[in-house]
């Protein structure tokens, strides 16, 4: 869990989002629908974006999980976070952690993605404030920065 090993005894019906929020106090993980439709609960498991509200907690045994709390350790922001700030891509902020985690996993695997591909993947994260316009702008800039920092 964000680089730290945790032992949690879970009930069979507990979801990963419940354990993250209520047991481990990682409150950045938001549950806005509980049915896997909105993307607010997205975290990264073994490098892939998953919906923690649909993931049984027991299935997380042995998984390496990242939440947004791990992105800005020592005050340095991830390029997606920086671009979200610079582009005014944040309004109420409730969807933001899940959105950033989904796109972090996607851009890590697809540094050369097109805007259309990026929009399609971002389509898994609902937002009711921004119309996604500034978020897409920010993500394109972050993609370019990530690509150039990786030297490809």
């Amino acid at each position: 869990m964000n680089g730290v090993r945790h032992e949690v005894l879970v009930k069979p019906h507990w979801t990963l989002s419940y354990v993250l929020r209520d047991i481990l106090n990682l409150t950045s993980v938001k549950v806005a629908c509980g049915t896997g439709d909105c993307g607010c609960c997205t975290v990264i498991a073994h490098g892939k974006a998953i919906l923690s509200c649909l993931t049984p907690a027991a299935k997380a045994d042995g998984m390496q999980i990242e939440t947004i709390e791990s992105l800005s350790i020592e005050g340095r922001l991830h390029p997606i976070q920086t671009k979200f700030v610079e582009h005014g891509a944040v309004q109420c902020g409730y969807c933001v952690p899940g959105m950033i985690m989904n796109m972090k996993a996607f851009l890590a695997d697809n540094p050369n993605s097109s805007e259309e591909e990026l929009r399609r993947v971002l389509g898994g994260n609902l937002c009711r404030c921004t119309g996604y316009i500034k978020q897409v702008e920010a993500l394109l800039k972050a993609r370019d920065e990530l690509r150039s920092s990786e030297g490809c």
Binding site: T35, Q81, V85, Q91, L126
Partner: protein, 766 residues
């Protein structure tokens, strides 16, 4: 892309106002560290769940809570036997005699919609609370129900509230001689237009935590748009004096009008009082859909007379608004709908006949635009039809007939002091290439079309309702300034705007101004709440006056310390200096340190500002939309939107642009994909999830150009007008007009779903 056209004079220009400074809450939000209500955990906190009616209309014959109470982990169960029998209106009306029916109890013996609360449980965890709900035994006597507002006013319809008809409110306006004007009109257009119910879908559901202490004080942490109004009505609903209720508002995860409503608070409060433990109650998404609020569906019949010269001779609207099981905001939503209908176009002979009606559906409520999107949809759809039929240019026709600067509204007497209506239409037309030849036939069976719509909408509720806001500006020992206000930031960026206003007034940079992202009725001064696009206009005025007030105190103190006449003092960059002897200079921080901690010269550096706008500041705007319709499937793709809006004065252009983008996302859903659907046999909403209720995603959004116009309205601070609600108002009408242009068929009913377009193209009934 963002453009800004300013009509400001040189001396009206500013330093910090007008620049897109970074949002004050951005860092906390991108790191996920911001704490919303649902992220709080108090020691010994219990979790509540509400048992909801499965029937749209029924009497409760008996409730047995014994088995639920005995379940281990359950700490309290409440139903109508435990709640005060005090009537209220969950819209928390501004005035007790403002025409809002008080038709709700915390629990009643009768239920009026599927999802109406019947009982509530507090338990050690959510699972136990949920389990306890299943153990509550309720015997219902189902009653005949009615979902359709037109059916609800027919004779013999089920009576939803005992002792009164199903009509919640009525508005009739008559000016000039309508019948004669119709008879004398060259052309008469009649049509029936309808809009559906849509949901706010704020990502953060309604949620609160209540705590009742040994002194009989109730503290409620809640995601609300109006802490002070909520305090008054919560106190009344649960029978605790106002002074013993404290509302704390943590950062809000979206509101859009849905949280201008008392929903979860009374239940969690009563459970907290009963258990003496903190109680959290949070809606699930399903509860948001069935027991949250929604935009009122509206059926509108228009009768319009047009003269040969292309002016309106008569304008009539008959409207019926589906209020739902309880009135809540319906009377004033109908009121705004009628005002906006009237103010859209000039016409002597006017008739409005509107009713809001009880139905056995979830209650409608406040929703961004508050009655205007409905009226504007009908009016602007019909204008489009008129222009098509009579071969008028839709831009010129609108320009010729709309109210503009200097006009006086005959009914309210509002003078339109400043308005860029003309510029809004012309700039948008130019940007989208109106009048130029466009490619109509796209690839395959796809056809393109262009449409437009405009709007008029007030800023704040000034006119009929109270309008005021109080703010404090406190200068700290390091010369920084703290702004204390109960203005609610729903995510719109108002906190950043207020920081900019303070920075402007003090002549300091925005990073020297603090504002907290939450507020507290015990410590923060009075504000009415976030609604009616009022916050920058009213709360901004309060902050500006508070800054001016404390600046006077600083100048007075500086004059004593520097021993110079205060007339010769100037303020710059957090310093006060003598214009004549610039070496006589002292910083804000030094003044505060010198005065606060010196025994002989203590002084206050808290400024107070109370702002009450004298007039309203009507806003104008237009949207042009390009669509592509697949003639085989009826599917509509929105290719492009150009939005213009007259904001009076732009405090933060980037944040304004964000409001427009978000409003268009909602407006496009309203036009094409969103609509609550009731099962006619059970009265239940069928689409209770984001899977079945489709809001636009990033993949669906078109390119949007935003053009901001600054007309400067003297009623508010710096010339500002409202921004937050307005851009949703014309979107659905503009899309429908564009679809009409593309397919050659006029559709008068929202939403323009693929099925509907497919059917209309083939004469298949909906």
């Amino acid at each position: 892309m963002l453009e800004l056209t300013t009509l400001l004079s040189e001396e009206q220009k500013a330093r910090v106002i007008g620049s897109s400074v970074t949002r004050v809450d951005a860092l906390e939000k991108v790191t996920g560290s911001v704490q919303y209500t649902t992220d709080m955990k108090l020691p010994n906190m219990l979790y509540a769940k509400v048992l909801r009616s499965p029937y749209p209309h029924a009497r409760i014959e008996s409730i047995n809570v014994r088995h639920a109470e005995r379940l281990p982990g359950v700490k309290a169960v409440i139903c109508y036997k435990d709640a005060p029998r005090v009537k209220f209106n969950s819209s928390c009306p501004l005035m007790f005699d403002g025409g809002f029916p008080l038709d709700q109890y915390v629990f009643d013996e009768k239920v009026r919609h599927v999802g109406d609360p019947v009982a509530a449980v507090a338990a050690v965890d959510k699972d136990t609370a949920e389990e306890a709900l299943a153990l509550i035994e309720v015997t219902y006597k189902p009653l005949p129900f009615v979902l359709d507002p037109e059916a609800a006013v027919r004779s013999g319809a089920p009576q939803i509230h005992d002792g009164r008809s199903n009509i919640v409110s009525e508005i009739r306006i008559e000016s000039g001689d309508f019948e004669r004007a119709i008879a004398e009109s060259e052309y008469v257009f009649r049509g029936r237009y309808s809009t559906t119910s849509v949901q706010h879908c704020a990502l953060e559901p309604h949620v609160c935590i209540s705590k009742f202490d040994e002194n009989g004080k109730l503290t409620v942490w809640t995601s609300t748009q109006f802490p002070f109004r909520l305090r008054v009505w919560l106190s009344r609903a649960i029978g605790i004096p106002i002074g013993k209720v404290r509302i704390v508002r943590p950062p809000v995860g979206g509101g859009f009008g849905g949280k201008e409503e008392m929903t979860v608070e009374p239940y969690s409060a009563l459970l907290a009082i009963k258990t003496k433990r903190p109680v959290m109650l949070e809606h699930t998404r399903e509860e948001e859909f069935i027991a949250g609020r929604r935009r009122h569906a509206c059926i509108m019949e228009l009768e319009t007379g047009i003269g040969k010269d292309g002016t309106f001779k008569a304008r009539g609207m008959k409207a019926i608004l589906q209020a739902g099981g309880y009135a809540t905001h319906a009377p004033s939503v109908l009121g705004v709908g009628s005002s906006v209908f009237r103010m859209m176009y000039k016409c002597e002979a006017l008739r409005y006949d509107g009713r809001s009606v009880y139905t056995n559906t979830s209650p409608g409520g406040a929703f961004r635009g508050y009655g205007a999107p409905q009226s504007v949809f009908a009016v602007e759809r019909q204008v489009d039809e008129i222009c098509r039929e009579l071969n008028f240019d839709p831009v010129k026709f609108r320009l010729k007939n709309s109210y503009t600067k200097g006009d006086i509204d005959p009914v309210t007497g509002w003078i339109i002091a400043a308005g860029a209506n003309e510029e809004c239409l012309l700039k948008a037309a130019e940007k989208i290439g109106w009048g130029k030849t466009m490619v109509r036939k796209a690839s395959g069976d796809k056809q393109r079309g262009l449409g437009l719509a405009r709007y008029v909408y007030p800023t704040s509720a000034r006119g009929k309702w109270p309008e005021c806001s109080e703010a404090l500006a406190i200068v700290n020992e390091d010369g920084s300034v703290s702004i204390v206000t109960s203005a609610v930031d729903l995510g719109t960026g108002i906190s950043t705007g207020l920081v900019q206003i303070a920075a402007e007034e003090f002549g300091i940079s925005t990073d020297r101004v603090n504002i907290s992202l939450d507020s507290d009725t015990d410590t923060h001064p009075f504000d009415l709440g976030a609604y009616a696009s009022r916050t920058t206009f009213v709360a901004g005025g309060g902050v500006k006056l508070a800054a001016a007030d404390v600046k006077q105190k600083l100048l007075l103190a500086a004059s004593q310390i520097l021993k110079v006449d205060s007339d010769e003092l100037e303020t710059e960059g957090g310093f006060i200096y003598s214009r004549l002897r610039p070496d006589k200079r002292i910083s804000f921080g030094e003044i505060v340190m010198a005065c606060r901690y010196a025994p002989e010269s203590s002084a206050t550096f808290t400024g107070r500002g109370f702002f009450e706008p004298k007039e309203n500041a009507p806003t104008f705007g237009a949207q042009f939309v390009e669509v592509e319709v697949d003639m085989r499937t009826g599917q509509t793709k929105v290719l492009r939107v150009v939005a213009t809006l007259d904001v009076g004065r732009a405090i933060n252009p980037s944040n304004i642009e964000g409001q427009v983008h978000g409003a268009i996302q909602m407006g496009l859903g309203y036009a094409l994909t969103e609509s609550l659907v009731w099962d006619k046999t059970t009265g239940e909403i069928m689409n209770q999830s984001f899977l079945d209720y489709k809001i636009f995603t990033a993949a669906d959004m078109p390119k949007i150009d935003v053009i901001i116009l600054e007309s400067y309205d003297p009623s508010g601070p710096y010339g500002v007008k409202g921004v937050g609600e307005q851009p949703i108002i014309p979107t659905a009408a503009a899309v429908a007009n564009a679809v009409n242009d593309a397919i050659g068929v006029s559709i008068r009913d929202l939403p323009l779903s693929s099925e509907k377009i497919y059917g209309r193209l083939r004469d298949i009934p909906d």
